[in-house]
């Protein structure tokens, strides 16, 4: 009798979803849940129309409008013509093909990676795709979730499958106790700074270790969210009691008996003891401090108390040109410190850090304080539900008193597709996930940091070590 080879959780989920494996072809992988939004879907629906086919299974597809929507006066028609057209096209497509849409004004509307988990659409053991690279967020629930391009969106709409080669596997373990002022965003910024913006390309990552399993679901999502920023196809965390408790009672999650039997299945989603990963990396939680990025990719990060490397300190000579270009863009000097550097804008939002816990963290830091003069602070909740919850808890009052602006849900200044843009040359400390040139608006300059660090900077008006403030 042949004994089955030990498998990682990733392999278990993948293998279970392979509909067809043929010699010379990539695997045809079944997709349990497909999220779509206004920016990467119109051309895919056009493709279906051209072929004269419908959506394979509308029950497995959910849509929302998030990337391109205003974060003020959402009840009014969108002012900008192209944005309006794109959202209207989504509306039209969803109506024509019978896809459920959480449109502007709907109580479930929000950033696609925030609403999936919040609604219980995201569950352990699933395969999940979306035409957005931060689909990796959903992996926090112990599933295979990854971003795809529009041609692939079309494939999934048409066939509920995607053609993919199985990626390699990487295990990243973080053990030990986190220091004061260090939160999950710091863990992931730290890991990326160590392995670079391309260090996990070609891999699917599993995060493990006691520093990870002690985190809440929302904090785990922040980690998985940024897997793509080190090039990984996705990142996941094995489901446990924390996961099951989060899911219980969510709108579209299995209920009652069905929930209990689902939990029994989900408990099997664990990497076998002797399973082999292609790469294993280990980090000590005690080495991590509050982090900040100084360059124009998320790998260019450091502890807020460190100084930027000098050109000579770079490991690879090849990188010198890009490094200098990046620092020129940021208006920063090699070898200098960032601590104390004035900021013009603070953006608290995005699928990385706009969940209710993030808003609570910010509120705990700013309660009874005021923002520094001259700093503009935008708090953009990740979803309508987060916005409502914040109001229920009175966080909106705390923000108002501090001089922060609480807006309506959307991607906002994370990618600057709507009018929420950081002006040229200005510095923004941001809880989002990308510090690319122009990401937050043409010539804008981004420091990526945790919600705690962003809130601290809002109060002091400069890059601050959160450990120096009382909160």
């Amino acid at each position: 009798m042949s004994v089955e080879r030990p498998k990682t959780i990733f392999e278990k989920i993948w293998d279970k979803h392979v509909v067809k494996r043929s010699e010379g072809y990539p695997d045809a992988v079944f997709i349990d849940r497909h999220f779509i939004h206004e920016v990467t879907s119109p051309q895919a629906f056009d493709g279906l129309r051209k072929r004269g086919i419908g959506v394979f299974n509308v029950n497995r597809t959910s849509a929302t409008a998030d990337h391109n929507v205003p974060t003020k006066d959402q009840h009014l028609p969108i002012k900008e013509a192209l944005s309006r057209h794109q959202v209207e096209t989504l509306r039209k497509n969803c109506a024509e093909f019978g896809v459920e849409l959480y449109d502007l004004g709907h109580p479930f509307q929000g950033i696609v990676h925030i609403i999936g988990p919040e609604l219980g659409l995201t569950l352990p053991g699933m395969t999940i795709v979306c035409g957005d690279s931060h689909t990796s967020t959903h992996g926090a629930f112990g599933n295979i979730a990854f971003g795809i391009g529009t041609s692939e969106v079309e494939q999934v709409l048409a066939t509920q499958c995607i053609l993919q080669y199985k990626p390699k596997t990487m295990r990243i373990e973080v053990n030990g106790t986190l220091g004061k002022g260090v939160v999950s965003k710091d863990i992931i910024l730290y890991i990326i700074s160590k392995i670079s913006a391309s260090g996990a390309t070609g891999y699917f990552v599993e995060y493990a270790g006691d520093a990870i399993t002690r985190l809440s679901m929302e904090a785990r999502m922040t980690i998985c969210n940024m897997s793509i920023e080190m090039g990984a196809r996705g990142g996941l965390i094995a489901p446990d009691e924390t996961t099951f408790n989060y899911i219980k009672g969510r709108k579209f999650a299995p209920q009652g008996r069905a929930f209990d039997s689902a939990v029994e299945e989900w408990k099997k989603l664990k990497t076998d003891d002797d399973a082999v990963y292609d790469v294993v990396l280990k980090f000590d939680a005690a080495d991590i401090g509050p982090m900040i990025t100084y360059g124009t990719n998320p790998g260019m990060g450091m502890k807020v108390t460190d100084r930027i490397p000098t050109v000579e300190e770079l490991k690879e000579i090849n990188e010198q040109v890009s490094f200098k270009k990046s620092l020129d863009y940021m208006g920063l000097e090699p070898g200098s410190a960032i601590l104390g550097k004035p900021v013009d804008y603070v953006f608290i939002g995005s699928c990385t850090n706009a969940r209710i816990e993030d808003l609570r963290t910010v509120a705990s830091m700013v309660k009874g304080k005021k923002k520094a003069a001259g700093v503009e602070v935008w708090v953009v909740p990740g979803s309508k539900q987060v916005q409502e919850q914040a109001k229920k808890e009175g966080l909106d009052k705390i923000f108002e008193e501090a001089g922060f602006e609480l807006r309506e849900p959307g991607c906002s200044a994370c990618l600057g597709m709507n009018e929420d843009k950081i002006p040229a040359g200005k510095y923004c400390i941001s809880t989002s996930n990308r510090n690319f040139e122009g990401r937050q608006g043409p010539k804008s300059r981004t420091f990526l940091a945790s919600p705690l660090s962003a809130a601290a900077a809002a109060i002091t008006g400069k890059v601050t070590d959160v450990r120096d403030l009382s909160y």
Binding site: Q43, D46, T150, S322, M417, R434
Partner: protein, 195 residues
């Protein structure tokens, strides 16, 4: 939909010796509002190509009349960041058929292949030599032979990998979706058994 066939290409090439070029640089987000696939080439590398008054920025390779051709040669980790396929559309629409680098981000690689653009991986050493040669001598011809999986210029030659399935798709102008549609019955059965 990749309907153009690709076998061999002889062309000049445009050097872009920058690493970690992310898709936000290839096509900034504010140009993603279109609902069709056409016309993105005009905004390829928009913020490196034009200043805030829409004037071409001298010195950027795409504005440099010495450079032309259907091959783009770029530093390592090309196409990282956002999954936007608009990046591949912009490159294709501008007229590039091959991007050469020593390393590509995963999603970009798939998106390129789905749009008849070949992401061609070469060694770091070959890349450096090719970039240096192009900068010293912009009219250098580069030959990409997909059939035999080689890239060459002057008397330098290197083989490259491409998986057999994707190669067949490129050569014949096939789409993944055609293959997936042929599995309809199996997929339906799977869906029923797992709902």
């Amino acid at each position: 939909m990749s309907k153009e066939k690709f076998i061999k290409l002889v062309s000049q090439a445009v050097p872009l010796p920058i690493e970690n070029i992310d898709t936000d640089q290839i096509i900034p987000a504010r140009f993603l509002k279109a609902t069709t696939r056409e016309g993105f080439g005009d905004n390829l590398f928009r913020d490196w190509r034009y200043d805030s008054d829409n004037q071409p920025i001298a010195g950027f390779a795409l504005n440099d009349s010495r450079y032309s051709g259907k091959i783009l040669v770029a530093g390592k980790n090309f196409g990282c960041g956002s999954s936007r396929e608009h990046a591949a559309w912009a490159i294709h629409d501008y007229g590039f058929k091959v991007v050469v680098s020593s390393f590509f981000a995963d999603i970009f690689k798939n998106n390129a292949l789905n749009n008849a653009v070949l992401p061609l991986v070469v060694s770091d050493a070959f890349l450096k030599e090719l970039l240096d040669t192009l900068q010293a001598n912009p009219s250098t011809e580069v030959i990409v032979d997909l059939e035999n999986q080689t890239i060459s210029f002057n008397n330098k030659k290197e083989s490259f990998d491409i998986n057999a399935y994707k190669k067949t798709c490129l050569i014949n102008g096939y789409d993944d979706i055609d293959y997936l549609l042929s599995l309809n019955k199996e997929i339906k059965e799977y869906d029923l058994a797992h709902s």
